[in-house]
């Protein structure tokens, strides 16, 4: 019983020690291929996903899409982007929501839905595995874990 409980913990430690790229595919930030944005910096991505700036440099409205807490990509994304846990991101949004400033980005359940969102919104921007970024979207930022 003890060994069973210990295993996930050891696996987690192992994940922490291993370079993540060897374990999992790379996460990338993608935008609608027609939005006119070719590349973004980390700060620009942070500003969009945290609602600080809702426009791309060319004036197109940024329409970020997020994923639910339970999806492993969400935790990976915010860890790689700002070094924050999902609980800290949720705490940030609870301050924005309950102070009446703004609502968080919409959430969709699967990577395929993220791609759909990005292609169906002119300023769509989301995060997916590099392998899922096809010709319908454009990779503007690569998250190095």
């Amino acid at each position: 019983m003890r060994g069973v409980r210990l295993f996930p913990f050891l696996a987690f430690c192992w994940l922490l020690m291993e370079p993540a790229a060897e374990v999992r595919a790379e996460l990338v930030v993608v935008v609608n291929a027609r939005c006119g944005v070719a590349a973004m910096t980390r700060n620009e991505v942070v500003n969009v996903f945290f609602g600080r700036n809702r426009q791309f440099f060319n004036g197109v409205e940024a329409q970020p899409v997020d994923m639910p807490d339970g999806h492993p990509d969400r935790a990976r994304f915010y860890r790689a982007l700002v070094g924050k846990e999902v609980s800290e991101v949720n705490a940030y949004w609870s301050r924005q929501v309950f102070s009446g400033r703004m609502q968080p980005p919409s959430k969709v359940n699967t990577t395929e839905d993220v791609v759909k969102w990005v292609t169906s919104h002119p300023g769509g921007i989301g995060f997916v595995d590099l392998s899922k970024a096809d010709a319908r979207v454009r990779v503007v930022f690569e998250l190095t874990p």
Binding site: N43, R52, V82, G83, K84, A91, Y92, R95, F98
Partner: protein, 381 residues
């Protein structure tokens, strides 16, 4: 009018969402010579007995996202308030219009953000400590205005400049002994400039309020010394038509496991009845897995600008005196999704004349020092 607007909007094809937040908190202090309150909106406080009075709250928000530009938001909260009840009240109710993605206009009953974080003071889940540092926040019993505000974000390269301005009439009551100070109708105006540079956020803000009503000093003194104020005393201690100015600067660093804040404020009172003050706090936390221990230091000191008219005036003015500092140490544990447990120890050290932040003071016995122990469970849903 708002109801008509709401019902009309509820019928239209729009997205409605219901969200909430809450805190179950218990706290106790090490003295019965003063009662500890979270801020001056609370008429009674706590002593040596564990109590859930000062920190517990439940909030519920309904928001209608009508289209990309229009939102209607109504938020109700239940917390211990000026009339010694937890009677729920409409904290905010407003219409929000975003003419461009980075410009936001609101009209209705609005939270006032005249100090950083002032409009999310009751959303325990959103911050690290069990409550906002007292030496900085407890003399701010103002929560909402009936008015309008405008907020703009201007991207400057990788950084963002934000500005906000608000104007409205204050809304609420502030308890004083068993009486109420009516601050409703008092015009309030303010704004801030904020610069976001990577993980750093720097803000300077200013606000002022012009009080519409006098403090209920005469009624309070009647109970304490058996006589009300004379007209000369009332004129000397008047708050009506006086203006109080609030200045603050804040720096926040938030990246990876680190969170740090430095805030400074200066309050310039227009009335002789209230002393002007300077306050501030420093707070730093470092997350280890799901647990974030933190350490902070806050202080407040007020000063008498004028000589009291007589002993009654001196008594009233002494009531608004503060001179103390607090070291606080605590831990936030994000135990489950959208649920945090916190424990905090506050070591308040001050002068025996520091009584402004408290209720039911026994001035002869109070020595200015106490410890506060708090445990909270904060959640959002």
């Amino acid at each position: 009018m708002l109801l008509i607007a709401l019902s009309a909007m509820a019928q239209s094809d729009s997205a409605f969402s219901l969200q909430g937040f809450g805190t179950l908190g218990v706290a106790r202090t090490t003295t019965d010579n003063v009662e500890f309150v979270r801020d001056l909106s609370q008429p009674r406080g706590i002593g040596k007995e564990w109590s859930g009075l000062v920190d517990s709250v439940l909030g519920l928000q309904g928001s209608w996202h009508l289209d990309p530009q229009w939102d209607v938001v109504v938020q109700a909260t239940s917390r211990y308030r000026y009339d010694q009840t937890f009677y729920p009240e409409i904290a905010w109710a407003y219409l929000k219009y975003d003419p461009t993605p980075n410009l936001s206009l609101r009209v209705g009953r609005l939270g006032t953000e005249f100090f950083m974080l002032a409009d999310s003071r009751w959303v325990g889940y959103s911050f690290l400590t069990v409550r906002p540092p007292g030496d900085y926040f407890w003399y701010l019993p103002f929560y909402s205005i009936h008015g309008a505000d405008a907020a703009i974000a201007v991207p400057l390269g990788e950084n963002v400049l934000r500005a906000k301005a608000f104007y409205g009439r204050s809304n609420g009551q502030i308890p004083l002994a068993d009486e109420q100070w009516d601050i409703s109708g008092s015009p309030m105006v303010g704004g801030f400039l904020e610069y976001q540079l990577d993980a750093w956020q720097v803000r300077a803000s200013y606000a002022n309020i012009q009080f519409k009503h006098d403090l209920p000093i005469s009624a309070v003194m009647q109970k304490i010394i058996g006589r009300g104020t004379t007209s000369a005393e009332a004129a000397f201690l008047a708050t009506r038509n006086t203006r109080t100015h609030y200045y603050s600067v804040g720096v926040v660093y938030d990246q990876g496991p680190w969170q740090a804040q430095l805030m400074l404020n200066h309050i310039e009172q227009g009335s002789n009845a209230l002393e002007s003050s300077d306050g501030g706090y420093l707070l730093a936390g470092y997350r280890v897995d799901q647990v974030t221990p933190y350490l902070g230091y806050s202080w407040v000191r007020s000063r008498q600008d004028v000589k009291p008219l007589n002993s009654l005036a001196a008594y009233v003015m002494a009531d608004s005196h503060s001179d103390q500092h607090t070291t606080f140490l605590g831990m936030r544990w994000d135990v489950a999704k959208n649920l945090a447990l916190k424990a905090q120890w506050d070591a308040i050290r001050g002068d025996s004349t520091s009584i402004f932040p408290y209720r039911q003071d026994r001035r002869a016995l109070w020595n200015g020092s106490m410890d506060v122990f708090t445990m909270t469970m904060d959640f959002v849903f």
